[in-house]
Amino acid sequence: MGYFYTIFARFLASLGQGVGGQVSFSMAGIFLLSLPVCFSFSAYTMAILHKKFAVVLWVSIIIALFLTMMLGALFSYTYTKVSKDSFTVLCLGSILAFDAFVRSFDSFTGGVLGISGILRPESIRTLPALVQFSFFVLIVILVAQYLVLKSPMGRKIRAFKEHPVALQAFGVSQKSVISFVIIGGSLLSGISGLLEVFRIQFLDPSFGGIPNLIVLVSISILALKPKVKAVVLASMLVVFLPELISFLDFPSALLGHLRVLLYSVLLIVLIHTISGKSQFQKREI
């Protein structure tokens, strides 16, 4: 049962981040590779505030999410100031920069040794309680996503990807769409980071990072259609598929690496087969 809860909790955390990825990558065409940074940033902020500064846990969570949104706002501002290609490179660079930051400022972040013994809030102390809580959070996120997809904003996001110039001629501010997508995506990634850190109760520089990015991009490419069920099914596939490896007779030390390898192969296959439809990096006309 513990294994089931662990996998299900991982699925829920990935799904939360996947929603952000689907909205930004697939719907808006914004290659927001900074989502793993937001994933790690919220977790580290919460852990540092709570463990180093003795801030009440729930308050730490709220501050962490607020600061993650601010980080998203910074990325959103940057998106309006640089070219799409530069933004993509900058986002990738931010993953490396955050990793370097975490390793360097070890008095706060614990450096390579990380921060251990991160407690869950009282009401979700056990794994089943955490899974139930995560499930509730994800239901709220999916309902919100459904409403956004059906709402004028959902149409504006899709229109932004296809013809941003025509969208402005409709009287829609590009900045409002960009801010909504990037800040919203960053917040969702931050929430997922918190759910994940409460599951593993440990943080080190490998939290988030490139393996997380590969999972996120795979989900986003699979969830091309602007539908809630698309992102749910994509997250299921990406999270549960590598679990088949654990039933094969591999040394346990190898399993983690094999999972990343499988994700990488999956990503290459996806890029070859369906990513063309997503029109990433489409230039303005």
């Binding site: 709402s151 004028p152 296809e162 025509a166 402005q168 001629a169 409709f170 829609v172 501010s173 590009q174």
Partner: protein, 250 residues
């Protein structure tokens, strides 16, 4: 009755890079008028549209829409002031259905609240409007199709429907007949004429098909080498010797 000036352009200069594209262009367009802009390729017609709609920065000059100076307004702010813009490459969203394209325009024009589609009454009203607008350009049967599946001519008609739904008092249309079969040109002309006559819109239109244009417009502005060469009724323009040489080789 004296008609209001909907669009006013005064001494407009637009420079892109080192090249001066528009030089000292002035023109007024009155309420309900259809004004055509013609000129050889590269004379700055689309740049003029881009400057009016805020997509190209201007060097000097003054642009006013409905009496309000809009020089410092972004494109979306100008759209909210009543400027609707059609594009040379068709400004509709091809990955959306025809219905969604028109709904988007209605949402913007009427500033509907985000939850409107959850109100049965509101939904019914919007649906009725969408049907009427699409029926007006003979595209109602394609309502649920993706716009990308339409032919070039049908896309132009959809753009006209969109411009109608957007409800702006000033409509800029850039080369509407590009890629449109002769059969559909008649329908397109009717759709543009209806926008002005039936719905009271003021229209400025760039077009290379002079027969199409002269049948439609009240006045023509001719640009040559980025400058306004002349302005007048279609007949006057047709009779100009230099233009006859440029366009008709006579």
């Amino acid at each position: 009755m004296k008609k209001n000036i909907v669009l006013s352009v005064e001494n407009l200069h637009v420079q892109l890079g080192k090249r001066m594209i528009n030089q000292d262009i002035s023109m007024d367009v009155k309420e309900g008028e259809i004004v055509g802009i013609i000129g050889p390729n590269g004379c700055g017609k689309t740049t003029l549209f881009n400057a009016i709609s805020g997509f190209a920065p201007i060097d000097t000059g003054l642009i006013s829409i409905n009496g309000e100076e809009v020089n410092n307004f972004t494109p979306h702010q100008r759209a909210r002031k009543g400027l609707s813009r059609g594009f040379q490459n068709v400004g509709v969203f091809k990955e959306m259905t025809l219905e969604e394209n028109i709904i988007m325009a209605i949402e913007q024009a009427e500033q509907l609240p985000w939850y409107w589609m959850f109100s049965r009454q509101e939904k019914k009203q919007v649906e009725k409007r969408v049907d009427a607008i699409l029926d007006g350009v003979d595209l109602l049967s394609h309502k649920q199709s993706l716009a990308g599946l339409l032919s070039g001519g049908q896309l132009r008609l959809l753009e006209m429907a969109k411009l109608h739904a957007l409800g702006g008092s000033l409509v800029l249309i850039d080369e509407p007949t590009a890629g449109v079969s002769p059969v559909l040109r008649g329908e397109l002309r009717n759709a543009i004429a209806q926008l002005a006559k039936k719905h009271g819109r003021t229209i400025v239109i760039i077009e290379h098909d002079l027969k199409f244009l002269f049948d439609l417009v009240d006045r023509v502005v001719v640009l040559v080498d980025g400058k306004k060469y002349m302005e007048g009724k279609p007949k006057e323009v047709q009779n100009d010797a230099r233009l006859r040489e440029v366009y008709f080789g006579t």
